[in-house]
């Protein structure tokens, strides 16, 4: 037995073996490890296949694609996509005047380009320009869509459908984030009154359902405003959304601020930075970077929350389905409404899934 070992030639690094276990065996182990697992796997596969076949049959094979009224969709065994296709305008832009629709396309196009730019940036890049874009875009969109001056004026309540979802989500984001950040900082203020008020706001908003906030904004708010000042339903809804989500964002930012260690602040103090400079240069850049994935999750929530707008009579996507199903041309078949809802769900799924993939990627990179 050696008690004294000396290596005389160094060992060169070798590449790792490609795969320790060949894929059929890996697959077999994952799915059919035991008789009970095998049975469960087969059962779940069968259920999944059955559901897929039924949906495919309903949504593709037996679907009715073209037509201008419920006469195009007899029976209830297939989807009525004719309802969706012929009513593309309420879906996409609501009551926005057809003559001005180019302005709506510009918004969709601009956002698509912006989003492509955002997802193609390396995840570690500075979040500043993206956040700035999210603040500037909704302002530009609202100016363009509502118009005035050289552009003809369009009432904001005429914006609807997917365009409304886009504009409300962006406008909510652009207002809720700065307010939320201020409130999060306010909760750490040295002034007890500011701390208390910010805490009260956050706790209050978190304790009230969004729907209640929306109703209050829609019905109660006008009573508090001075006579002569009339805020339209669209703006009231955006204000309610912004305040509600500011509370959510404040909680997210608070977490980010708490994650910055005391050592960072002490080090900033010892190099002579004032409290404000420390906040701006040391604390916020780190805190905001840490919470970007959580902010994207808030955005996903806002996208889905826009469906609540139909309840107070704003023409969002859900509203477009319901109004469409009540119109004289399409009234009658329950299948028509179902098709509308399924389309709605798929549209939201596409948008939110894209956002959540983006959020996941940001999380993995940090």
């Amino acid at each position: 037995m050696t008690t004294h070992f000396v290596r005389d030639a160094p060992i060169d690094a070798r590449v790792a073996p490609a795969a320790a276990i060949a894929w059929p065996r890996r697959w077999h182990r994952a799915w059919f490890a035991s008789p009970a697992m095998s049975a469960l796997s087969l059962l779940l596969l069968a259920l999944f296949a059955f559901a897929c076949v039924r949906f495919f049959d309903w949504a593709i094979v037996r679907a009715h694609w073209l037509g201008q009224s419920s006469a195009a969709c007899p029976g209830s065994d297939g989807a009525c996509w004719a309802f969706v296709i012929s009513r593309w305008k309420p879906w996409l832009v609501g009551n926005y005047p057809l003559a001005q629709i180019g302005r709506a396309w510009t918004c969709f196009g601009a956002f698509a380009l912006f989003w492509i730019w955002v997802v193609r940036r390396p995840p570690a890049a500075r979040p500043g320009p993206v956040l700035l874009g999210f603040v500037l875009l909704p302002i530009a969109f609202l100016l363009l869509l509502i118009g005035g001056g050289p552009l003809s004026f369009v009432a904001p309540t005429q914006i609807g459908g997917l365009l409304l979802t886009l504009v409300v989500t962006l406008a909510t984001f652009a207002t809720a984030l700065p307010i939320g950040l201020c409130i999060a900082l306010g909760r750490r203020s040295e002034w007890p009154l500011v701390r208390a008020l910010c805490g009260l706001f956050v706790e209050g908003m978190r304790a009230v359902p969004l729907l209640a906030v929306l109703f209050i904004a829609a019905t109660l708010l006008p009573m508090f405003l001075p006579r002569g000042i009339d805020v339209d339903l669209f703006s009231r809804a955006v204000i309610a959304f912004a305040l509600f989500n500011a509370a959510m964002a404040a909680e997210v930012f608070r977490g980010g601020l708490q994650a910055i260690g005391r050592g960072q602040i002490e080090a900033a103090t010892t190099v002579g930075l004032s409290r404000f400079a420390t906040l701006r240069l040391i604390v916020l850049p780190q805190a905001i970077r840490a919470v970007v994935p959580a902010l994207v999750n808030i955005m996903i929530a806002v996208v889905k929350e826009t469906t609540l707008l139909s309840v107070i009579g704003v023409n969002d996507l859900l509203g477009a389905v319901e109004i469409g199903a009540k119109s004289p041309d399409w009234v009658g078949e329950a299948n028509i409404l179902t098709s509308g809802y399924v389309f709605l769900a798929l549209a939201y799924l596409a948008v939110c899934h894209g956002l959540s993939r983006y959020s996941r990627r940001l999380e993995l990179s940090s």
Binding site: G261, G263, Q264, E266, A267, A268, T269, T270, V271, G272, L273, S274, R275, A277, L281, I282, P285, Q286, R289
Partner: protein
């Protein structure tokens, strides 16, 4: 609290007054009496090493010098600024920290900035030094600590020893009159301790006034003008290194030395 100008004027007027004078400092954490009647005077150019068992108040002591820790009784006069226990304001802390540098056990570099930005952020945004000037200063001190090639890297790309050398350069970039070291080698892997100690020794050779909390007794012997021994929040013994290690006067220091020097 005196204004900056008044503080500088009083520092000049006093000529070669000590750079630090701590008078009857008492500090409590809740009911725990963490610092007890601390009196310590440090002259310009002196190198002080503070040692003692863990929990003896060494770190707390140096952190009261630059007011990172508030204290309940006593007064600190540091770099011409006189701060009594009831006058520890944010402005006083800022004024003191613009004259005193600090190196932490955990480095506390700013992870989202390059090494160079770590060095320039204090001078540029804290003292209003012009960017080009701060850049030049930073490159000068990076060369001092032997890290010129790493200026554009992020702290996480450096080894622990390199990070601590960056932290030393960062402290020097604020042109401090006094640098505090709070166990600067305690978080390092053993093979990196020496590069940091050597950097500190070269700083001492240049005449920088330093207060160093450390367990590196070899460093204390080689570099210190005086060694301070603390236990239970009190200063037990202050002596020149030879006397400190060879002829300890108090029983507590003798037993401390016998425990750490025999292995």
């Amino acid at each position: 609290m005196p204004t900056d100008a008044a503080a500088i004027a009083s520092a000049r007027a006093s000529g070669d007054a000590p750079i630090l004078r701590m008078q009857a400092i008492n500090k409590w954490y809740g009911d725990y009496h963490a610092l007890r009647d601390i009196d310590l005077v440090v002259d310009a150019g002196e190198r002080i090493v503070v040692c003692g068992p863990s929990g003896s108040g060494k770190s707390t002591l140096v952190r009261t010098v630059n007011l990172l820790e508030p204290f309940e009784q006593g007064r600190v006069q540091v770099c011409g600024i006189d701060v009594a226990a009831d006058a520890i304001t944010r402005a006083a802390r800022l004024a003191v920290n613009r004259r005193v540098g600090m190196v932490f056990q955990q480095f506390n570099l700013f992870p989202h900035m390059s090494v160079l930005a770590n060095l320039t952020v204090g001078p540029v945004f804290g003292r209003g030094v012009r960017r080009a000037e701060a850049h030049e200063l930073a490159m000068h001190y990076l060369a001092r600590v032997g890290l010129t090639d790493h200026a554009q890297k992020r702290p996480a790309e450096l080894s622990g020893g390199q990070q601590q050398r960056v932290a030393i350069a960062r402290a020097l970039c604020t042109r401090p009159q006094l640098v505090l070291f709070d166990e600067p080698t305690a978080a390092l892997d053993p093979e990196m301790v020496n590069e940091v100690l050597q950097t500190m020794e070269s700083l001492a050779a240049d005449g920088m006034t330093m207060i160093v909390v450390t367990h590196e007794m070899g460093f204390a012997r080689r570099v210190a003008d005086r060694v301070v021994f603390m236990d239970q929040g009190q200063i037990i013994e202050i002596a020149k290194p030879d006397d400190f290690f060879e002829r300890p006067q108090s029983r507590r220091l003798a037993s401390f030395l016998s425990r750490i020097l025999t292995h």
